[in-house]
């Protein structure tokens, strides 16, 4: 098993049709970032560059456990990345492009569920491109909401095609849906490479950054079935046992609706902070560094999902105070 440092970082690239994925891929492949990047695409036609490190794959979903959404993985990735890893010396970053209509969850889950991929690769970030000009038209599309909800980096692309008010409005909308992602307005997907590759968004050691404004502001309640987010902040220490029980029950009852959760936890009687994340039912948590001087120990907890009952979730969360 490779040490975390030696594991190959993987960036997952999502975005609705026409949002600029191809432009970004071509930029990644031609940019002088000093990284040898292998790219898995859906169709060779997508990239205009003749590159032996561009590999075509058919998105093939494997249901690992009787169709449970949380246990679906991308089977083609298991096979192709397995083959590709024998050529590990040829590249040092992997980018996976998903089709415009794909739910990103199976791709993400593949890297946590498959024993080989889990040992040899690490998910770096989910980068989602948003077409500022057209996103309003397909905002209610399930896949668009999932792509926004799973993003670690949101590129609000085509900023040159919309006015400032429209851009701000969409930015606020995406924030409400996903307060965890880093939002970067771009034109021609011209984000700096270090904001896309080597982000380490899935690293538990990396503190999560929640927009402080989001934590305090009131949110509009969306209609039923909508994807949204809730965030809690609590300065009183929490009980690890109670939190564990609450989260376990939550994911077993609501797993398919809970896209992502992230938290920094202040645990009763512990000088270290804990960090936590989940993707559907896959949970990962660890005891992190000690709280620093000048830092106010507190718990920050964000849930992104569908049909979230904020009052009930808040009650469940607050019952975990030690």
């Amino acid at each position: 098993m490779a040490s975390p440092r030696d594991r190959l970082p993987v960036t997952v690239l999502t975005g609705y049709l026409g949002s600029g994925k191809t432009t970004l891929l071509n930029r990644i492949l031609t940019h002088e970032h000093g990284l040898k990047v292998a790219v898995i695409v859906n169709e060779f036609g997508d990239v205009g560059i003749d590159n032996q490190l561009v590999i075509e794959a058919d998105e093939e979903i494997f249901e690992m456990n009787n169709g449970c959404i949380c246990c679906t993985v991308r089977g083609d990735l298991i096979r192709i990345i397995g083959n590709l890893m024998k050529r590990r010396d040829r590249f040092d970053h992997l980018v996976i492009e998903t089709t415009g209509l794909a739910d990103p969850a199976p791709v993400i889950q593949t890297f946590f569920v498959d024993e080989d991929l889990r040992d040899e690769l690490k998910l770096d970030a989910v980068v989602t491109l948003v077409d500022l000009k057209h996103v309003e038209q397909h905002w209610d599309c399930e896949e668009v909401q999932e792509q926004l909800a799973f993003a670690d980096v949101l590129l609000l692309n085509k900023i040159d095609l919309v006015d400032v008010e429209a851009c701000v409005a969409i930015q606020q909308r995406t924030r409400a849906l996903n307060p965890l992602a880093r939002v970067i307005p771009t034109c021609q997907a011209d984000a700096a490479m270090d904001q896309i590759l080597g982000v380490e968004a899935f690293s538990l050691e990396r503190a999560l950054a929640i927009d402080p404004e989001f934590l305090t502001s009131d949110h509009d309640h969306e209609h039923d079935g909508a994807v949204g987010s809730v965030a809690f902040i609590e300065e009183r220490p929490m009980s690890y046992k109670k939190l564990e029980r609450w989260i376990d029950r939550l994911v077993s009852e609501r797993g398919p609706d809970l896209f992502r959760m992230k938290g920094i936890l202040r645990i009763d009687g512990d000088s270290h902070r804990y960090v936590f994340q989940s993707v559907h039912m896959l949970i990962d948590s660890t005891r992190d560094r000690p709280w620093r001087d000048g830092e106010t120990p507190s718990t920050q907890f964000v849930i992104i999902g569908r049909d979230l009952d904020e009052a009930a979730l808040r009650a469940g969360f607050e019952a975990c105070v030690a």
Binding site: I55, F62, G75, D76
Partner: protein, 366 residues
């Protein structure tokens, strides 16, 4: 006939530039082919005492290689989706390359020659294509599966072909197009497939850490065995008959599990975990003509076991993970390949505890 060569004793190892992905012996045991993740294909001719790089290093890997049953053809395929074929004229004669055959741009990693026949089955995406050595051409028809072909296996008599994808195994007789293919549900994706001689049992090692077994060439109701520590990534059948069925070895996580049928029915199958390796077991292979089992591991060692799961010997390379194994058809020489391109050829003396038949004709004497 030339005198038996002594080259094997002189040269026991060598190196390619990249991870060895496949190793294959010709039926007469005189030729050895090795493919690598760097696209190399090395052909070693033991009788003539020479070697030739049929393909040099390139950007696309090769992932399968094999000789036809009559040793007339060598095939290799990999990342670029093209089927490579050579016509062989025997020892000392340079192979003649056919034009590469594009099969739709899929990464090709499942292919198998028909035993006692001239067909080559290749998994290309969701299709199985057949190349016929008799006509030297690709058959126009193809067999469709509902998912990407992950593994292929011919029955020992070469009449039945099995292909596995996520959810099912498909079985058919390529020379009997009238007969509809038979489907066996698996509930998971098959990673490895193998057909026994005795009993005509079909085994599928699966992604969900289970093993499926179908008696009577897939006609009987399948058994499923769970509890493997990881995916069942490789399997091998012993060619020696057992009381009810031959031995079966399955690689999963750091162990190999030796299965024997001691009674009729599902409960009659007994697993014996072979615990030794400290890294993933990548390959398992029974020596032809005996119950000697070789297991290759990421810890850089090869274990040799008798048919009751007792370790006979531990072979070591130079520390690099061992990813590939292939027995010479005489069952007396084992070649192994590493993830950094090193290969080793070991002459193996059978231990007394291993049942055996005489080595197949054509091989050089130990």
């Amino acid at each position: 006939m030339a005198a038996p060569p002594t080259l094997v004793q002189e040269r026991l190892c060598g190196a390619c530039s990249h991870a060895i992905t496949a190793q294959a012996w010709s039926a007469d045991g005189e030729l050895l082919a090795m493919a690598t993740a760097g696209g190399e294909l090395l052909l070693i001719d033991f009788r003539a005492g020479c070697e030739e790089w049929l393909r040099g290093e390139r950007d696309c890997s090769l992932d399968v290689a094999g000789f036809s049953a009559d040793d007339r053809f060598l095939m290799a395929a990999g990342q670029d989706g093209k089927l490579l074929l050579w016509e062989l004229g025997g020892s000392g004669v340079r192979p003649i390359a056919f034009d590469p055959l594009p099969l739709g741009g899929h990464w090709l990693d499942a292919a198998a020659w028909q035993p006692q026949g001239s067909l080559l089955a290749v998994g290309a995406g969701k299709q199985v294509r057949l190349w016929d050595g008799a006509s030297r051409s690709l058959r126009p028809e193809s067999q469709e599966l509902k998912g990407t072909v992950l593994a292929l296996a011919w029955s020992r008599d070469g009449r039945r072909l099995a292909a596995v994808c996520h959810g099912e195994v498909l079985l058919w007789s390529p020379d009997d197009p009238v007969q509809a293919p038979q489907r066996c549900a698996t509930g998971s994706a098959g990673l490895s497939l193998g057909w026994s001689g005795q009993g005509n049992l079909l085994a599928s090692g699966q992604l969900d850490g289970s093993l499926m077994l179908w008696p009577d060439g897939g006609a009987g109701r399948g058994w499923q065995f769970r509890g493997f520590p990881g995916k069942a990534r490789a399997l091998t059948w012993c060619d020696q008959p057992g009381r009810l069925a031959p031995l079966l070895a399955v690689a999963s996580a750091d162990i190999a599990v030796l299965w024997s049928q001691q009674d009729r029915g599902a409960k009659g199958w007994k697993p014996e975990p072979l615990v030794l390796h400290e890294g993933r077991v990548h390959a398992v292979a029974f020596a032809p003509g005996s119950s000697l089992l070789a297991t290759a591991s990421g810890d850089g060692t090869v274990g040799l076991w008798d048919g009751r799961g007792r370790l006979q010997q531990l072979l070591e390379g130079d520390g690099q993970a061992i990813t590939s194994l292939s027995w010479r058809p005489d069952g007396r020489h084992l070649v192994a390949g590493g993830e950094q391109g090193q290969w080793w050829l070991w002459p193996v003396t059978l231990p007394p505890s291993v049942r055996s038949r005489p080595p197949s004709p054509g091989g050089f004497a130990p």
